[in-house]
Each structure stands twice: as structure tokens, then as C-alpha cells.
């Protein structure tokens, strides 16, 4: 059965000790490694606060103190998310983290960043305040200039709402899951000029 083959392939690619190991190479001792987890934590914060905001509806946070606080958590969560993500990206760049069959991990991570930027924009234009009026009327020119605006209308609140609360976050989460699985599948990249005796003859 193809299902059995898929299960066996998944087990081979990510056995439990590789998916959630209890040990890591000793070189994993820098603060740089924290920013990946921090990005993921900020994403979870955004999904939780965003889910609550979505449950109450788009007008709620303008009229409720709790809603405004929750929107503020979402707002600062976005700032923390991008702050951590950019530091994570720089860290991985400076480590040359794509070495050793890890190119796809970088590519998927870069896609996560790009889709996150798009998700952030759809959030900014559906705030129903002055900022969203201004941002949407300015952003439309960029999208229209390359033909995207005909399909992705930042002035259409309904379209932006469904994109922001469902389609774009689902894409970010899905890409992030793939990225995490690739990270666990290949493991962390060893340092440049690692000692010969620290590297197996076998592929990782």
C-alpha cells in the first residue's frame, strides 16, 4: 500500500530521536540559535491573539478595552516576530547554514519571510483606521504597476480579511512546518573547518 510506503519513508526521514532529540552538537551554544525558537514563539503568539481577534470580528477591537489590548499584543507580536525572524535570517546567513544539503531549508525559510511580509501587509490594510486607508491607497499603486492589483485588491476589505485571517496565516504556518521538518531532517549545520574526527564518513 502507498500509505505504508509513505509512513516508512517518514520514519526513515525523521525518526523520533531526530525529530525531537535530547542532545545537540556541543557547538550549538550561541544566542544566535535562540532566534529561530523566538520567531516560532512569536508566530504562536500571533496566531493565538489573531484567533481571538478574528472570533470577535473586525470591529470589536475599536470599541472594547480588552479588544484594544489584544490588538496591541498582536501589533507588538508582529514587531517581535519580524525582529526575531530577521536576526534568525542574518544568523543563518553568517553561518552559511545552507551547506551540506541544507539549501532547501534556506529556500523554504526565505519563502516564510516573504509570505510573512505579505501577511503583515494584509493585516495593516484591514485595521479600518487612518493607517489602513493610507497604506492601502498607496500600496495599490505598487500592486497595480505590475498587474497584481487586478487580482489582489488591497482596497477590498473583505478580500484582505479572508486573506489575513485564513489563507495567508495558513500558508505561513504550513511553510514554517516544512522548514522545521527540514531543519530536523538535516540537523544543524556544523561549523566551518570542523575537526575531521568530529565528522562521520556517513552523510548526516
Amino acid at each position: 500500500m502507498w500509505t505504508a510506503r509513505v509512513r516508512k519513508a517518514a520514519e526513515r526521514a525523521l525518526p523520533p530521536d531526530r525529530l525531537l532529540p535530547d542532545r545537540q552538537p556541543a557547538f550549538v551554544s550561541s544566542w544566535v540559535y535562540v532566534f529561530g525558537s523566538a520567531t516560532l514563539a512569536a508566530l504562536v503568539t500571533l496566531v493565538l491573539s489573531g484567533t481571538w481577534l478574528a472570533l470577535e470580528g473586525p470591529d470589536w477591537w475599536h470599541t472594547s478595552r480588552v479588544g484594544h489590548f489584544l490588538n496591541s499584543v498582536h501589533f507588538w507580536g508582529v514587531q517581535l516576530f519580524f525582529f526575531a525572524m530577521v536576526l534568525h535570517l542574518w544568523g543563518k546567513f553568517l553561518m552559511g547554514a545552507w551547506r551540506g544539503r541544507r539549501r532547501t531549508t534556506w529556500l523554504v525559510g526565505a519563502l516564510a519571510f516573504l509570505v510573512s511580509v505579505g501577511t503583515g501587509l494584509t493585516g495593516y490594510v484591514l485595521q479600518q483606521n487612518f493607517a489602513s486607508q493610507w497604506i492601502s491607497t498607496q500600496a495599490k499603486d505598487g500592486f497595480n504597476a505590475v498587474g497584481i492589483g487586478a487580482f489582489f485588491n488591497v482596497l477590498n476589505l473583505g478580500q484582505m480579511l479572508t486573506l489575513h485571517v485564513l489563507i495567508m496565516p495558513a500558508a505561513v504556518v504550513a511553510i514554517t512546518v516544512v522548514h522545521l521538518l527540514l531543519v530536523r531532517h538535516r540537523g544543524v549545520v556544523p561549523p566551518y573547518d570542523a575537526a575531521e574526527e568530529h565528522l562521520s564518513e556517513e552523510l548526516g
Binding site: L20, S29, R99, F130, W134, P190
Partner: protein
């Protein structure tokens, strides 16, 4: 070492020293820290929520700008009327990347007739109990294009020495047919708060698409003047700013940067050119591991020596 040697070495399994590492614990701690930090920032600094500009507020605060804009919608000279796709079919309109006009290629998928959608149709909804307005609309509809042009031109001249007192346009007399009545009615409808609704709900009770009122608002100069005060204009790094003193979309810094420098800062095709440039740069960013030179840059920068300094120190011993 060459890139290939670096790449091959990094592909080998690690059999060097290891240490206990609880990934779930690290994530749980990170989650608590981020939630507490976000909640603390929210409690301390709140978040921006500058109220939106309504068409009523615009019509009351700057009635001359409002009327001038409405007149430009009527005669087809407004920003939206001359925009081209995706709103208006206008051959040759739209930004270009060299010979390529992607705006035209995408076509008119959000059709808008500024004179009808922003002025005439909203006024038709208001004309039900207003015979004078109804007559003005009939006159406009029955007029030839030449007559309309003459009326609008005469009214535009009159507006230069006009003023608005208590919601009434005080313009010198002239041969501008029904245009004065139409503009006065449009201003009154907006000041009374009925224009957004008339633009939004022509075909339905519910509304979720604000394309029309936003385009109309953006055609005037009032919205831009408010944005300028908040440092939100394109040449003020506006795309990465936020109202008040809050951080905006700072991650758009590179995209925003190009709008500040020539040739983009003075080009009529700035948006298309900046997008094209960003597409190239973004492709480069995504494909770093495949680009010779760039993929070896971290080794030359040697900042990895600081990141893995403990490992190299141990190795030196």
C-alpha cells in the same frame, strides 16, 4: 577551502561532542518570554488606532478640495479617471518596465466609471425627494459631450474665486448648466454622511469592498495632507512608518529605500521599476545557496568565528 569542500564536509553526520538540549523546553521558555514581552509592550505603549477619515469629515474640513475632486471625477481628469487598469480602460496608461506594461496586460478587472460611481449614481439615490437635483441630473445626462465640457470648464473657472459658507458653495455666476447644482448636492450629501453609503451599497445591502470611496478619497489632496503631517508620504519613508510614534513595517526598509533615490524618486514608472528591482533582489535572497560568490560570503566575512567561538577555542586546545 572551496565551496564544494565546505558543502561536502557539512553534509557529513556529526560524531563530535554533544550536550543535553531540550528543544521543547527551549520553545516553551521562548513562548513565555515572547508572550510576556508582547503583553508588557501592549500594556505600556498600547497600539495606534487613528480614526479613519470619512468623506463627511473631508467635505466639512476642506470643502473646496472636495468639490474640486468631485468635479475632476465628473470631467474625467481625476487620478482614478486617468489611472488605467485595473479600474479604467485607457490605452497607453499604466506604468512600464522598459517596453513591458503589466498593468495593461492584467486588464480592467475592477471596472470603475468615476463620474457615474463617485458622483452621478450617489446623487441619483439622493434625488428621490429633490426635483431640482433630479432635473440637474436629467440635464447632465441629456447634454452632449461638448456641452458638458463647456459647463465643467466654466464651473472650474468659477471655483477659483469661490468659497464655501455654511455648507453652501458661493461661486460667481456663469454658464455652467447643472454642474453647480450637482456639485452642491454632492457636497451636501457628503457633509450629511450619506456619500460613503451611496458609493458602497448600490447593488447590495451588505458591503465589504471599499475600493470606490477609498479611490475617491485618494483622488483629493486632503488625505495626503493628513498623511504628510504623520510622515507617511512615500518620500518620507512612509511605507515603513506608522501613525504617531509607533514602529511601522520596518521590514520594508529596502523596498522603501529605492523611492528615496534617483532614478526611482523622480520616475513616473517608480512603482513598476522598484517592484522589478525588488523581484531581482528577492530572487537573489531566496537563491543565495545557489549563487557562486554569494554562498561563500559567510566564510570570507568570518563572523562565524564569533558565533562558534567556544567550539574553535576547544579545538585550539
Amino acid at each position: 577551502m572551496t565551496w564544494r569542500q565546505d558543502d561536502a564536509a557539512a553534509a557529513r553526520a556529526w560524531i563530535g561532542p554533544t550536550r543535553p538540549y531540550d528543544l521543547l523546553k527551549e520553545f516553551a521558555i521562548a513562548l513565555v518570554v515572547v508572550v510576556v514581552l508582547a503583553a508588557a509592550l501592549a500594556a505600556l505603549f498600547s497600539s495606534p488606532d487613528e480614526p479613519p477619515v470619512t468623506l463627511a469629515a473631508w467635505a466639512r474640513a476642506d470643502p473646496m478640495d472636495f468639490v474640486t475632486t468631485a468635479l475632476s471625477e465628473l470631467d474625467g481628469s481625476s487620478g482614478t479617471a486617468t489611472y488605467g487598469p485595473p479600474y479604467v480602460a485607457l490605452p497607453g496608461a499604466g506604468q512600464r518596465i522598459g517596453p513591458l506594461n503589466l498593468q495593461q496586460l492584467a486588464g480592467v478587472r475592477i471596472p470603475i466609471d468615476p463620474a457615474v460611481d463617485f458622483v452621478l449614481e450617489p446623487l441619483r439615490t439622493a434625488a428621490a425627494g429633490d426635483p431640482s437635483l433630479d432635473q440637474a441630473l436629467r440635464s447632465w445626462t441629456a447634454a452632449t459631450t461638448a456641452e458638458r465640457r463647456r459647463w465643467v470648464s466654466a464651473y472650474a473657472t468659477a471655483l477659483r474665486s469661490a468659497s464655501v459658507i455654511d455648507g453652501t458653495i458661493q461661486a460667481p455666476g456663469g454658464d455652467y448648466g447643472p454642474v453647480g447644482e450637482l456639485m452642491q448636492s454632492e457636497l451636501t450629501l457628503a457633509q450629511d454622511g450619506g456619500l460613503e453609503g451611496a458609493m458602497l451599497t448600490r447593488h447590495a445591502f451588505y458591503a465589504t469592498d471599499y475600493t470606490k470611496p477609498l479611490l475617491f478619497l485618494a483622488d483629493g489632496s486632503y488625505l495626503g495632507s493628513l498623511a504628510e503631517r504623520q510622515h507617511l508620504l512615500g518620500d518620507q519613508w512612509g511605507m515603513m512608518n506608522e501613525t504617531g510614534s509607533y514602529p511601522g513595517q520596518t521590514w520594508l526598509w529596502l523596498y522603501t529605500l529605492w523611492y528615496q533615490v534617483p532614478p526611482f524618486s523622480s520616475s513616473g514608472n517608480a512603482d513598476a521599476l522598484v517592484w522589478a528591482l525588488m523581484l531581482v533582489l528577492t530572487t537573489g535572497f531566496v537563491l543565495v545557496p545557489w549563487i557562486p560568490g554569494l554562498r561563500s560570503l559567510p566564510r570570507r566575512l568570518r563572523i562565524y568565528r564569533r558565533i562558534w567561538r567556544d567550539y574553535y577555542r576547544e579545538l585550539a586546545r
